[in-house]
């Protein structure tokens, strides 16, 4: 089975970033159909029928999330989560670069469904060119009557504000995103109340991922039932998988959910590079647990990957060949979480610091076995005890790698350097 192109169908088309070309291929017809022939409630029902689950990481059913908004409380807000900073993830950037109007159309459809007068697109600071592109596209759409007052002659009005972040992974967490958008340090808030009840400016708010929203024009045009027929039963539709690491052809590939991971690796990524073999991979981005070659026959299906002890998360697949040092990889991820911890709660603020310090000494071959055994204690004091998922996930990869590659971790103790790198350097010379 090859790629299944729904969201990526028009990637690479000349001029697709302009309204004229997007309209020529049927762009904004989904929005027109929704405004002309569907009530907001019918639209929510259609999205429920599609079975689509959020593409931002947690996989929550989108239609259900929308229906949690309390009746008759206005205004409501839509936040588009374009903060994409999960290690290994670059699909939202591709969706913006390669089809920005698809996202804007999806955003307007969602705003209509929840009756939001303003949609905010929160885009990470590093995506500077992407922010400028979106701003230009929003103005183009405004001039054509898709954004602003009485859209396409209906009585629905919606403005879109593109808001640039400034370098903080935690602002991808929905309540931290809201804090940041309100002009504060982006730190998570206690839930409940959930954003659906009390979000931006204290009002009911929906936060959805870029990829989730980019699906909506297709769901509206082709119907929820059609969408539900694509993919797997409880993971409907397609997903964009960001593939990177030791593969022959890195990139973003859109696959029907349910396809075996092996097909993604072999057919799209063209296998592991340099004729080497696969040692391990990470299926959902930096936060998720390590999987092994024996897991390649798992389907790209949210629940199946979860049952195997990991998750599809944000759709990043990082493949590692036989020469990879799992301690080095763990150290880099732990460093990331230590750097990105927002400092609000002690288990994460202090725990990531201890983790990072320990992993650096381990990778340098300067740790004793007794010290290594404290790694589990540190992680036990974090996992499930942190204020938000960042602190929990800061333990997931390293703990799973420690379990699966225990010998490699132990071998580092007192080795005076990285034994894995030493071994492969020696092999390269021989």
């Amino acid at each position: 089975m090859a790629e299944y192109k729904l969201l990526t169908k028009d990637f690479g088309m000349d001029g697709i970033q302009t309204l004229a070309v997007y309209e020529r291929i049927g762009g904004y017809e989904g929005l027109r159909k929704a405004l002309r022939s569907m009530t907001p409630d019918e639209l929510v029902a259609e999205v429920k029928t599609s079975g689509i689950r959020g593409r931002g990481g947690a996989g929550f059913p989108t239609g259900m999330k929308w229906s949690f908004l309390p009746k008759d409380v206005h205004p409501r807000y839509l936040c588009v989560n374009a903060d994409e900073s999960e290690p290994g993830c670059f699909k939202d950037r591709a969706l913006i670069d390669e089809n920005p109007h698809q996202l804007i159309e999806g955003t307007l459809i969602a705003a209509y469904a929840i009756q939001a007068p303003i949609a905010f697109i929160y885009i990470r600071g590093e995506y500077h060119d992407q922010r400028l592109l979106l701003e230009r596209c929003v103005e183009e759409a405004r001039a054509a009557g898709y954004v602003g007052r009485d859209i396409l002659g209906s009585d629905f009005s919606c403005d879109i504000i593109v808001h640039g972040g400034a370098g903080a992974y935690i602002c991808g967490e929905e309540t931290a995103l809201i804090d940041s958008l309100e002009g504060f340090r982006g730190q998570p808030r206690l839930k409940p109340p959930f954003p659906a009840v009390k979000g931006l400016y204290g009002k009911p708010t929906v936060v959805n991922n870029v990829e989730t929203l980019s699906n909506l024009p297709h769901i509206v045009l082709r119907g929820g039932a059609w969408f539900a027929s694509v993919g797997a039963e409880k993971s409907t539709g397609t997903r964009l998988f960001c593939c990177s690491g030791h593969i022959n052809r890195p990139g973003t590939y859109e696959m029907q959910l349910g396809t075996p991971i092996r097909e993604l690796l072999e057919d799209e990524c063209r296998g592991i590079w340099k004729g080497r073999s696969l040692k391990a991979f990470q299926p959902g981005g930096g936060s998720m647990q390590v999987l092994l070659p024996e897991h390649l026959d798992l389907p790209l299906e949210m629940d199946a990957v979860q049952r195997a002890g990991s998750a599809l998360g944000a759709g990043a697949m990082v493949f590692m060949d036989e020469t990879t040092c799992m301690v080095d990889v763990s150290m880099r991820l732990v460093d990331f979480y230590q750097h990105e911890s927002c400092g609000k709660c002690a288990p994460c603020r202090e725990g990531t610091y201890f983790e990072s310090e320990l992993m650096h000494r381990l990778e340098a071959g300067a740790l004793t076995p007794a010290e290594l055994s404290t790694l589990t204690d540190i992680c036990d004091n974090m996992n499930g005890k942190c204020f938000c998922p960042l602190g929990d996930t800061a333990t997931w990869f390293v703990m799973s790698a420690y379990q699966a590659f225990r010998g490699e971790f132990e071998e580092h103790c007192g080795a005076g350097g990285c034994p894995v790198k030493r071994r492969h350097a020696a092999m390269a010379v021989a």
């Binding site: 590093e126 990082v318 990331f336």
Partner: protein, 181 residues
Amino acid sequence: MSVLTPKTRAEIERQRDRYPHARSAVLPSLWAVQHQLGYLSPEGMKEVAELLRLTPSEVEAVASFYSMYFDRPGGRHHVLVCVNVSCALRGAEEIVSHLESRLGCPSGGTTADGAFTWEHTVECLGACGGAPAMQVDHHFQENLTPERVDAILDGVRGAPAAEGPAGRPHRSSGSAAQRAS
């Protein structure tokens, strides 16, 4: 005396009026200041506070949380190299040591001629499919080799500073938690 130009002040006012609540304009306003000055000076932040009707310490507390705002001037061009996993698997460390020797200063430093400030970052830049990757003045540069890095740096060295990003990273190795203190 205003340190901000009428253009920057007008941009901050435009941002302020875009949002239901003026405070939401803090981040875009700080970007406008950094665009003009190359970094966030205390005077610049004070003016943001006045325009948004906040206290200077409220604005500074926000600014210090985010890693892309600079607290001191730096080189005309800014280079940010990713060392997260996908880049590391494909040679990020080689790029880092190449930059170190080519630019003659460690990560976080500025070249003697003031052309470049560079740093490496543990934050994935969202370019893992083109690893190893970096950003130069906020533009992605991917599939790097030492030779490509040389060509890219030669290409921008003479060019004027690009929009916004020039300036020196502040406390680049600290966590957000440390940035908080």
